[in-house]
Symmetry: C2
């Protein structure tokens, strides 16, 4: 955990990854249990380290929300330990046979799940993310290079050390986890596209955007979360208001909160007054389009930039749209491909919406806030991806896996097949 | 097909992609049949166009291999038409239910396959690649922006026009296919990371590398193919020589040809003389490490740079390795993660090799030349990917697909679950 040379650490992580990939599920689960033990053994030292970070952060006059995320107390510890326990109980994800084909007699092709290799995890503030992601990497057989926020230095250091210790008690290969501490190491990390296979950033939009813009390593995650709730002409008004208000207000500082409500023009008169008063009652500042302001002139005006703004706050924009088509166009144009919902009783309208909105999560008659790995029942979450390649939407363990093809023969050569001497059988083999 | 504005074309492709995504499989298959008809109707015009390209290429003194790839004659036409017929017969890939979970009563989550959106296809020389990739895009419901090599201008233009015509006869959305013709358009294309979801390059290493280095759009493909055949201590000598020679010589100009043969030190005396004479008989120039040159001093010396050279020619490097571990380390260090084979009768050695070599394709006792979508029985091939994210190895139709989550409720809000008023059931639903 104390490596002076970043490339040396990456080299060790790569070497460890080869061994991590072939561990039995039993051994990985024992290592996870052992990590729980070490965390429990060191809990007072962990809380002490966190108090040091909090004190230094307060002294430096850090913002209250960041300070809140920095806290790692008994409740947080219990939470991450519960998460590790969930991981132990999940099926072994590595070595799963996905496809098997006989290419010819004695020449069999297998597609088998395997770890990606070396994961670079970069996160702001929350020390619980360190525990969560590194144990996900362990379960999936990956090595992990960790870089947390400077403000959580002491907490991250002891947590990473507990995880490394716990794993080493069960003889996991040394070097599979490495905790980076200096700012320069991050930029070095972003440039190591030969050493690191995948970056998983966790933090603010600007933070994730910075990482995406400054690295050629594939990034799994999302920058913006501009989510919409569209109230269709066939919507039940009560459902519409309740779901839209939950989408905005249930927790405002998150990527799946509704940022814009679209209302079918025919519904504006019925919905808008009730909706606005419900939102305002919940403390939300409402910005609206000209059509809505004709009905309620007191509303603040929403400008073009509002349609592409992620407020992450008690602010919302509302726009009247001509019809379903315009709603879909608006979402595909201004949205971020994260989560968008329609409120409708007309099933054709719902189908039109879910088939044509180009987002990872498309919802009917429920709150945008549901798009989350835990709510989806995935158990453990790597993050939410708005990319369309690899994993999309809430991503569980499978986002840290790839596969390889194994072809087992007994001396076959291609020349025999191109010459016509032999022919492929391409017989699908049973994989159950 | 004649759009003056690249961004306008991309915008149309994006709009068309929304409609392409919801087409019934029947309609897409009729469009594919109709493309076959139009290609047949225009075959003499296609051959004329190709002759113009060939004539111009010859006059400009273009290299013979490029000239050969440029040919689009009856044999090539029959080949691409056969490929389209295979596509028609494949199962409909869009709208497949991959996962279904009841989150709570009346709140059901579905994961459904869907097209990626807009594919940018950039290829050198081979006009048949244009037909192959654009029909793969059609079958998978994607829009495609095509950019072929300047030398195939006339052929590409008429082929793209036939495909667009064929599809439009079956009312596919206009703008789903667009053929770019100017060099500037390529660089514009590489910068359009908001408009294009995925780039599929087909061409030389330098060409693919240029595209990977000059775009933030995800690229599916491979630059280098540095493949190894390792002859283990337990190898059957006859198998070893036959498979290694096929791996190198069956077709040298391709990514899955063997570029380096590793020989277990204990096998050098038995294998090397026979192997070298078999290779030399096939016209291969052999470069070797000092240990091998002790035995056969006439062999040319292989330098450090040879271990990372993709010859794509009748040249090979041979190295003696201490043992299985050193072979795996060599491959993971110098290889390109494409295809690597072990020749061995010892099953533990084969397992060690296939589990630890970090390549898309790991083979036992067969030629590296087998790594290919057609040989794997995938029917149609998008390309071979050495990336670990999304699709890896030979990539069929599924490489052009992603998925989305649809959550269908009846008014559920998240506040009810965080307050404890309601609880998730997370019941897996049957998807068969």
């Amino acid at each position: 955990m104390n490596n002076p040379n970043m490339y040396e650490a990456a080299r060790q992580a790569r070497a460890a990854a080869v061994e991590m990939a072939v561990l039995e599920g039993e051994q990985k689960n024992r290592a996870l249990q052992s990590i729980i033990t070490v965390l429990r053994e060191n809990e007072s030292a962990i809380f002490d380290a966190n108090r040091k970070d909090l004190l230094r952060a307060e002294e430096s006059g850090i913002d209250a929300p960041i300070l809140k995320r920095l806290v790692f107390d008994r409740k947080k510890l219990d939470g991450v330990i519960e998460g590790i326990q969930v991981l132990v109980n999940l099926d072994e994800p590595v070595g799963k046979l996905q496809l098997a084909t006989e290419l010819d007699e004695g020449l069999e092709l297998y597609r088998i799940s395997c770890p990606i290799g070396v994961i670079g995890m970069i996160f702001e503030s929350r020390p619980d993310a360190l525990v969560q992601i590194s144990t996900l990497c362990l379960k999936s057989g990956n090595s992990v290079l960790l870089k947390g926020g400077r403000e959580a230095l002491e907490t991250n250091r002891i947590l990473a050390s507990c995880i490394a210790d716990g794993a080493s008690r069960e003889k996991l290969p040394p070097g599979w986890i490495y905790n980076l501490e200096s700012r320069e190491e991050v930029n070095q990390m972003l440039s190591m596209d030969r050493e690191i296979d995948l970056l998983v950033p966790r933090g603010s939009n600007e933070f994730v955007r910075y990482i995406m813009d400054n690295s050629r390593i594939p990034v799994m995650g999302h920058a913006d979360g501009i989510c919409h709730t569209y109230i269709h002409a066939s919507a039940d008004p009560g459902t519409a208001v309740r779901v839209a208000v939950d989408g905005k207000t249930q927790y405002v500082a998150v990527c799946n909160a509704t940022e814009t409500i679209l209302i079918d023009r025919s519904m504006v008169k019925i919905i808008l007054p009730v909706l606005v008063s419900a939102l305002q009652e919940a403390g939300v500042r409402v910005k609206a389009c000209p059509v809505c302001r004709e009905l309620i002139p007191e509303l603040e005006e929403a400008g073009e930039e509002d349609w592409s703004t992620e407020y992450l706050d008690l602010v919302i924009s509302i726009k009247a749209v001509k019809n379903l088509e315009e709603a879909v166009e608006h979402i595909n144009r201004y949205g971020s491909g994260h989560t968008d919902a329609i409120i409708a009783t007309d099933e054709d309208a719902s189908k039109y919406f879910t088939n044509r909105v180009d987002s990872a999560n498309v919802f009917v008659n429920c709150s945008t806030r549901f798009s989350d790995g835990f709510r989806y029942g995935f158990g453990a979450e790597v993050g939410i991806s708005t990319g369309k390649l690899h994993a999309r939407g809430p991503v569980g363990l499978e986002g840290l896996l790839t596969y390889k093809y194994k072809l087992i023969g007994n001396g076959q050569i291609v020349a025999d097949y191109t010459s016509g001497k032999k022919r492929f059988t391409h017989r699908r083999l049973d994989i159950s």
